[in-house]
């Protein structure tokens, strides 16, 4: 699609961006005395329409689901072709497939976990495919991964295999937009995920062969080549000190060594990606601002979730703040 075809959408996006939650609103939510008060802040935002349908603050997930559906639908409608939104919606198809494959194996029905109205394949079609064990109607990578899972079900590997297929699909599909921004986004995301996988595999003291099967296709970093699992964590930080991920890794890994959790690393990685997508603010046309808006919205949904989980579990404000991500606007 020519970049000209995004001009209208980018104009709308620039208006829509003004309605994203800013730091002020996020802070007020984080500082609210309880979950219900935190949710009230959303009443002044574009989430207001969904608030009426929710009885208690514990049902905040309904609001997030409704808002996500609204955003995907709105973006699909404003573009002449839905392919850009479908790229980002691919994760929901894979999510649904994971749910169905696991449920099928356990002979249970877990349809409440399915994401409806978001993905590119209706969940009903996936249900039919999984029940019949016939994946020929699915896209090739998805079908291949699903067949692999059906042939040899391993609860640990279901997510790994399907994520690998998802990220391979994303890398291949992203090329169609001829946008280094979109390709780099997924490449950096794979690298940051791979670093996390590396830390986990190292902690579990699994074999290098397992590491090789657990990693996503490399973005800019080939971790297997770069580092052995036996090497101390300091070496990982050292090796990555010249890469774009230096800051994320040095602070994130240091914190991981002290706390044994990846919470800080995940926050830093999210902030790194958010900082990267801010580049899209300088584009006057093209798919980049639309993609960035969608990702900014996902980031916002994640922040509301962090705050609401924190409020419902009565975490102190400081602990919630520590987990909060940067904002796009």
């Amino acid at each position: 699609m020519s970049h000209n075809e995004y001009i209208y959408a980018v104009g709308r996006i620039r208006s829509m961006e003004t309605r994203l939650l800013d730091t002020g609103k996020i802070d007020r939510m984080a500082e609210a005395p309880d979950a219900a008060e935190a949710l009230k802040v959303l009443g002044e935002t574009e989430y207001a329409a969904h608030l009426a349908d929710v009885g208690s603050a514990n049902d905040y997930e309904q609001i997030l689901t409704a808002e996500r559906r609204r955003v995907y639908q709105e973006l699909r409608e404003m573009l002449p072709k839905p392919d850009l939104i479908n790229l980002f919606a691919l994760q929901f198809d894979y999510h649904n497939l994971k749910v169905l494959l696991k449920a099928h194996h356990l002979k249970e029905k877990r349809d409440e976990l399915l994401e409806a109205e978001l993905g590119t394949i209706p969940p009903e079609e996936l249900v039919v495919a999984v029940t019949a064990g016939d994946f020929s109607q699915l896209p090739p990578r998805m079908a291949e991964a699903a067949e692999k899972v059906m042939a040899q079900f391993d609860p640990q590997l279901v997510d790994l295999w399907l994520d690998q297929a998802l990220y391979e699909d994303l890398a291949a599909e992203a090329k169609r937009f001829h946008s280094p921004f979109i390709e780099n986004y997924f490449a950096y995301l794979r690298d940051l995920t791979n670093i996390k996988t590396f830390l986990r595999v190292k902690r579990l003291q699994r074999s290098p062969q397992f590491l090789a099967t657990a990693l996503l296709p490399p973005g800019e970093l080939d971790l297997v080549e770069l580092l052995s699992l036996e090497a101390p964590l300091e070496e990982l930080v050292e090796r990555l000190s010249e890469t774009r991920y230096a800051e994320v890794v040095s602070e994130g890994v240091l914190n991981y060594q002290q706390t044994e959790t990846l919470t800080r690393y995940e926050k830093l990685a999210d902030d790194f990606m958010l900082n990267f997508i801010k580049e899209a603010k300088h584009y006057i046309m093209g798919p980049e601002p639309v993609a960035a808006y969608l990702l900014a919205k996902e980031n916002e949904l994640k922040m509301i979730r962090i705050i609401m989980v924190g409020k419902i579990n009565q975490l102190p404000v400081g602990a919630i703040r520590e987990r909060l991500r940067d904002v796009y606007v």
């Binding site: 209208y8 104009g11 620039r14 208006s15 961006e17 003004t18 006057i284």
Partner: protein
């Protein structure tokens, strides 16, 4: 009109280019800014006024091109119905006189279109700064005006 000399044909070619190229630049740019403006107005109809001015700005080059084309036709007598018997050199001179606004107009229209789209986005974010958005786009106008000025000076310098 049969039996026209090469000179007058070159002058007509110059007039055609001035209107065509500057007009293409303006048409495409006004179209693009209009798309961005429609995007903003669909979210916030109150911004129609400021984005409309931004949309109109890259349209001036097309008008300048028309003016130069018109002047060439007038100077060479084509409008009066009595075309002057131009020499090859005179015809070429009229052709060259059309070029500054043809090319300068087209390129500045594209540049102004992009600035105006950025301006439309600025208005979407900060409606109170619409004056600044317009000024940024108007800055590009300078170069369209300079091209027009040069085309006119050349036109009136040619002896017929």
């Amino acid at each position: 009109m049969l039996g026209m000399g090469t000179g007058i044909l070159l002058a007509i070619f110059g007039a055609a280019l001035a209107v065509l190229l500057a007009g293409i630049g303006s048409a495409i740019s006004v179209g693009r800014v209009g798309q961005a403006a429609a995007g903003v107005v669909s979210e916030d109809p109150d911004k129609f006024g400021s984005v409309l001015i931004l949309q109109a700005l890259p349209g001036t080059q097309g008008i300048y091109g028309l003016l130069v084309g018109f002047l060439i036709l007038q100077r060479t007598g084509l409008i009066g119905g009595a075309p002057a018997a131009l020499s090859l050199e005179q015809g070429l001179a009229f052709f060259f006189a059309g070029l500054p606004i043809a090319i300068g107009g087209m390129v500045s229209a594209f540049a102004q279109g992009k600035t105006a789209i950025s301006g439309v986005h600025l208005v979407a974010k900060r409606p109170e700064e619409s004056g600044k958005a317009i000024i940024f786009a108007v800055m590009v106008e300078t170069y369209a005006v300079l091209a027009l000025l040069m085309s006119i000076l050349m036109l009136f310098g040619i002896q017929v």
